[in-house]
């Protein structure tokens, strides 16, 4: 202590400075705090693969909650309305789900054919977890699934929605806009580039030639199942326009003759593989 009162003066100077400093108060109802991504204060019910809440309204959670924070209401399997706490807090559970669990399918399943898709759900879970379940990673997860299955099986999407607790509609919407395949394709996929560069460098003539060579229209597959023809603007041909893409490889610049040759060769190779005679 150098000079009596110096310490007090230091504190007084500090408060004086802070008098003019920006304030930290949050004006609550007007300024909402920004909740962390992992915020657990908001409960979110998990959905089952049918798009219904997985909750059975068994009240076990409400009964054991030490601070009685959980309320719920719903219908039991007999259709009786049951209630535990205030009904407006939790989404009321719909009775079809309860019926189905009771062994009486109350309504047909969505897309029953798709339900048979064999999807390695543990692998999907692992993939989701590998990205930390972060919403930013959705597209990366889609890409991994597409790489494995060639398209995005609905069952895998449901599983992703379930695992990440993102609503099904959200997952499906994101998948629909990303240029992902939602249906399986057969054989090799030949994509003719439709970007501006290719189009004005002769892309349409390539398409005509390939159509002619394969005898199919865009979106169809050849009779032997070897090749599917598509048009897309995401080939990224750039300076090698006009170009086509076969599976993941881009070929260009091409003229119609070369394209015809390329496609027929690939088709023959696919046929040889199908017959079991290696080239």
């Amino acid at each position: 202590m150098a000079f009596p009162g110096a310490g007090i003066a230091k504190g007084m100077a500090q408060t004086f400075r802070n008098f003019f400093a920006p304030k930290v108060t949050r004006q609550y109802p007007e300024e909402r705090p920004q909740m962390p991504e992992r915020w657990r204060g908001r409960l979110d019910l998990i959905y089952d693969p049918f798009g219904e809440h997985k909750c059975e309204v068994c009240f076990q959670c409400a009964q054991v909650c030490p601070v009685e924070a959980i309320d719920m209401s719903g219908f039991d399997t007999q259709g009786n309305r049951i209630r535990y706490g205030m009904p407006e807090i939790y989404d009321e559970r719909r009775d079809p789900n309860a019926y189905r669990r009771a062994g009486q399918p109350a309504r047909p399943m969505r897309n029953p054919a798709r339900w048979d898709e064999s999807v390695d759900t543990p692998w999907v879970d692992e993939t989701v977890d590998a990205f930390g379940g972060r919403p930013e990673a959705l597209v990366a997860i889609f890409r991994a699934v597409e790489e494995r299955y060639g398209y995005l099986p609905e069952r895998a999407l449901r599983r992703i929605s379930d695992r990440m607790t993102i609503h099904w509609a959200q997952v499906f919407g994101a998948a629909g806009l990303g240029g992902f395949r939602l249906l399986p394709v057969a054989g090799h996929v030949v994509t003719v580039c439709d970007c501006a560069a290719c189009r004005f460098a002769g892309g349409p003539s390539l398409l005509d030639a390939i159509r002619d060579e394969l005898g199919i229209e865009v979106g169809e597959e050849t009779a032997d199942g070897g090749i599917t023809l598509e048009v897309g603007s995401d080939v990224g041909a750039g300076a090698s326009s006009p170009a086509i893409r076969i599976d993941t490889l881009v070929y260009g610049p091409l003229d119609p003759e070369k394209a015809r040759h390329l496609v027929s060769e690939r088709r023959a190779a696919a046929a040889r593989v199908a017959e079991g005679t290696p080239a």
Partner: protein, 336 residues
């Protein structure tokens, strides 16, 4: 009939009524200042919901206090319990009578104004002591005793520091002290040590942080006010802030030129204009010192009760005596 006397009585009644009416808005303004300034010091925004920029927050507090239930502890001494707030409040309001707001705007310009002021101010200690005793609560009792010890002790250096002023100015009237300052410059220059002693002692006298032993919320809950609620508590509360206003007003009257402008031009206007001009300067300076007191409260912790008493007797009292001694010698030697 002595019209002079009737007029005098009428003028006195009017002035005292005005003074009483002034106390409430004064308390409101200072409470608002306190809430807002302390908030700003602590990086908060402070009250901002009631009225524009939260201006009426303290007013609403006042009405809230009015509306609250007035409880009396079961075993309290009911009559003194009821009387105590009134005593404290009246002590504050009465001492306001001699505050010189502006030329011609003094409720009662006694020739012994300074003596009157210290005499009346000392009354509030009785109120606090009574409140502490009557509440039938140990915290209150301790608080009341602390207030008695503290205020009686600090009255001595407080008064002694003013004696220097009296010796220099040669008067006991506030308006004449100010007139002296108009002639010779602010007493701040003549009595620097006196100002320091007066300021410290006045903070202790009105129980402001860092000397708020009487309330000491972290030790004695609320001191003598612990058992009070409703408007009775309101009276204590208002009296505290009115006392802060009075002390700042007296400080500037004695040492900072009172209603005088800080630069000499225009030295003193005549008539109504002069009164208005004086009032403006008086309030500006007074509230500046009120703000400083609030700033201190926002920054400093509280001293301990024994350190507080030690400071009064071991530091301030000798200093005040030295100050008086030097002043007296100077007056004699330089024939001021």
């Amino acid at each position: 009939m002595d019209w002079e006397l009737v007029l005098g009585i009428g003028r006195f009644l009017l002035a005292t009524t005005l003074i009483l009416l002034l106390t409430v808005p004064t308390a409101f303004v200072i409470i608002q200042m306190e809430m807002k300034i302390i908030a700003q010091l602590a990086l908060r925004i402070g009250p901002n919901r009631i009225g524009p920029r939260g201006m009426f927050q303290s007013t609403i507090h006042g009405f809230k206090v009015l509306a609250k239930e007035d409880t009396v502890p079961d075993q309290a001494d009911r009559s003194t319990f009821t009387l105590a707030p009134w005593m404290v409040y009246m002590a504050a309001a009465m001492s306001m009578i001699v505050i010189p707001f502006a030329p011609g705007a003094i409720a009662a310009d006694f020739s012994i104004g300074i003596v009157y002021f210290f005499a009346v101010l000392g009354l509030s200690v009785v109120g606090l002591l009574v409140a502490g005793w009557a509440s039938y609560n140990k915290y209150s009792l301790l608080g009341g005793l602390r207030s008695a010890a503290q205020m009686v002790s600090y009255e001595i250096p407080l008064t002694l520091s003013v004696v220097g002023v009296i010796v220099l100015a040669g008067t006991l009237s506030f308006s004449e002290v100010i007139a002296w300052q108009l002639e010779h410059g602010w007493l701040l220059i003549w009595q620097p040590l006196g100002v320091a002693i007066f300021y410290v002692a006045s903070l202790a006298e009105i129980n402001r942080t860092p000397f708020d032993m009487v309330e000491a919320d972290s030790e004695l809950v609320a001191g003598p006010f612990t058992e009070y609620s409703g408007m009775r508590f309101g009276f204590f509360f208002f009296a505290e802030y009115v006392a802060l206003f009075i002390m700042s007003g007296i400080l500037i009257s004695l040492f900072f030129g009172g209603w005088l402008a800080p630069w000499p031009f225009p030295a003193q206007l005549e008539g109504f204009a002069g009164t208005l001009y004086g009032i403006v300067w008086f309030f500006l300076k007074t509230y500046l010192f009120v703000a400083v007191a609030v700033w201190l409260r926002g920054t400093l912790p509280r001293v301990r009760v024994d350190q507080l008493m030690g400071m009064a007797w071991k530091v301030l009292l000798p200093l005040a005596l030295v100050n008086l001694f030097i002043t007296a010698i100077a007056v004699v030697v330089f024939n001021l």
